[in-house]
């Protein structure tokens, strides 16, 4: 018979472990808290004195860097519009329309999308885009992202739409609406929260992505921020740390903002559910 352990001791050990792990996780990012505000920032961790916003001023004056942010925005916005629109329509059809083999389609779709990863499909995607003459265009990046993100987006939205009672559209049709009217008047407004989820998820994915634009784009003026940052610090010789730190922070802001927004609206479940 074992003596029950001292609860206080256990609590302390757990708290210590949690603090330790939290600190370990935060460590690589601590530098980021200070460096963007340090006019003499280096790779080392240093408390800036004084705190300054001059790095940000430099970034705003760098046309290449700002252009890259705009490119990220164009690609992410374009991708999101395509994914949101196509996925909503497709998911509605999968949920409400008696298409033969619906279940199999979803199954196969998920299978394909997880098998054909960026790493596996770099070559054919490059070749397809080349063949279409779209190498080095925003459109190429947007289309490829849309194609890759659609299966998961459709899956999420279809589940969402399935949960909406069919009596909504049925009652609309009894009241005199055509299927299209019922879709726009009654179904779409109720699906909206799901679309928001998909749009946020897709935006974060495209905004942060590196490999696809890296492969499909050539000219500097189309590069999104992810590739721009990479080129800034991977060049031989010392990277301009002040610029990079501030730029990275600006680049991260939309993602942090969207995460906080999603967390506020949907709670932690959002990201846990989405990624799966």
């Amino acid at each position: 018979m074992k003596k029950p352990p001292n609860i206080f001791v256990r609590r302390t050990v757990f708290s210590a472990a949690a603090t330790f792990l939290g600190t370990v996780f935060a460590l690589p990012l601590v530098w980021f808290v200070f460096a963007p505000f340090n006019a003499r920032a280096e790779l080392g961790l240093a408390i800036p004195s004084p705190f300054t916003l001059s790095n940000f001023a430099t970034v705003f004056q760098n046309t290449f860097a700002m252009q890259a942010l705009l490119n990220s925005l164009i690609q992410a916005a374009g991708g999101v519009v395509l994914v949101g629109g196509a996925a909503t329509l497709a998911a509605y059809a999968l949920s409400r329309s008696p298409i033969p083999g619906k279940g199999a389609v979803t199954y196969i779709l998920l299978l394909f999308s997880s098998v054909v990863s960026g790493s596996a499909a770099m070559v054919p995607i490059f070749l397809i885009i080349s063949a279409a003459g779209l190498i080095d265009t925003h459109l190429a990046v947007i289309l490829v992202f849309a194609g890759g993100l659609l299966p998961t987006a459709m899956f999420i939205l279809r589940d969402f739409i399935d949960a909406i009672p069919r009596s909504y559209e049925e009652s609309a049709m009894v009241a005199g609406a055509s299927p299209l009217q019922a879709f726009f008047d009654v179904a779409l407004p109720v699906i909206r929260p799901g679309i928001v989820v998909v749009v946020v998820w897709a935006f974060v994915n495209i905004w942060g992505s590196f490999l696809i634009p890296f492969i499909l784009l050539r000219s500097d003026k189309l590069m999104p921020a992810s590739v721009a940052i990479y080129s800034f610090y991977s060049e031989a010789g010392t990277p301009i740390v002040t610029l990079l730190a501030a730029y990275s922070l600006i680049y991260s802001l939309p993602v942090i903002a969207l995460y906080l927004f999603a967390n506020w609206k949907f709670g932690f479940r959002f990201f846990g559910g989405i990624k799966s």
Partner: protein, 302 residues
């Protein structure tokens, strides 16, 4: 004769068209095309760019050539490296760490829990380029935070990216991905009625016993799902490229980076496609196992 439905089959097909076109072109066709290209000697430049020959399984023989299989910088080496990477970073690293983090989250104060979860999740949601850069700074020999701590503790600093590159990417990827496992196990733990744990408390169980005898068996399905998912993602991950470019001397060249080098540095598309096919086959195995398990899950969750 028309059967009533909320959306007619014809309208449904129209609704599906845009998504089908996009997925068809950028997911389905690449699946088949990568297989086709893998049987050719296609390259980016030169004659074989416009007029590639059909070479059968030659690319595959080259990949699996026993003579060069284990040589650093060759396919076999990369494959083995990737397997080790996945085992350590996903199965052991992310899953175990995620489990530990979730368990701790259940038992510590809300403030501490917030701190812990924020740190872990920040690592996951920040763009990959940014964290690549953050780790680049973190590991810098002269000024990096890690060495600063090492020196502070009286330990010798290391030129980590040069001396221990493989372990760097293992820890890097574990750090990056632990959040997903943590959240998955979190929600799994929260779905267990608190009364189960309270009953165990009354019976005098320790935390370890509660974890081992109550929590783990009940979330077994989630554990397996998590393992499969993160294994698949880690297997395909490209982010370590941002830290090491696959070097030094190919010592961190996991399969995704190897594919990139072969296809876009050496411009050998045929061979790159063959590697892509191998990756897809392995992914397929994972995906099938996952989908089968996902179908069974509702029964297990009871």
């Amino acid at each position: 004769m028309k059967t009533f439905s909320l959306l007619s089959t014809r309208a449904g097909a129209l609704f599906l068209a845009p998504a089908s076109a996009l997925v068809g072109v950028f997911v389905i066709i690449p699946f088949f095309w990568v297989i086709v290209v893998s049987f050719t000697n296609r390259t980016l430049l030169g004659r074989t760019a416009v007029d590639p020959d059909f070479v059968g399984l030659q690319n595959y023989f080259a990949l699996f050539n026993p003579a060069t299989f284990f040589t650093r910088g060759q396919f076999g080496f990369s494959l083995i490296l990737t397997i080790q990477f996945v085992l350590l970073s996903a199965l052991i690293g992310q899953a175990l760490l995620g489990l530990l983090l979730a368990w701790l989250s259940q038992t510590v104060t809300p403030t501490l829990k917030s701190f812990l979860q924020t740190a872990v999740i920040a690592a996951w949601i920040l763009p990959e380029v940014v964290i690549g850069f953050a780790w680049f700074a973190f590991l810098d020999y002269d000024n990096g935070t890690l060495n600063m701590i090492m020196r502070g503790l009286g330990l010798p600093p290391g030129d980590w990216l040069l001396q221990q590159p493989f372990w760097v990417i293992v820890f890097f990827n574990t750090w990056r991905g632990a959040a997903f496992s943590m959240m998955l196990f979190n929600s799994a733990f929260q779905s267990i009625p608190p009364s189960y744990f309270q009953a165990a408390d009354v019976a005098g169980a320790t935390s370890w016993q509660k974890l081992r005898d109550i929590a783990l068996p009940l979330i077994r399905g989630h554990v397996v799902t998590d393992l499969i998912l993160i294994t698949m993602w880690t297997f395909n991950v490209f982010t370590p490229f941002l830290l090491t470019h696959g070097g030094p001397s190919y010592r961190t060249e996991i399969l995704s980076i190897y594919t990139y080098r072969i296809a876009f540095k050496d411009f050998e598309f045929g061979k790159g496609a063959a590697v892509g096919v191998v990756i897809m086959l392995i992914n397929l195995a994972f995906a099938l196992v996952y989908l089968r398990l996902a179908h069974k899950k509702p029964v297990e969750a009871e």
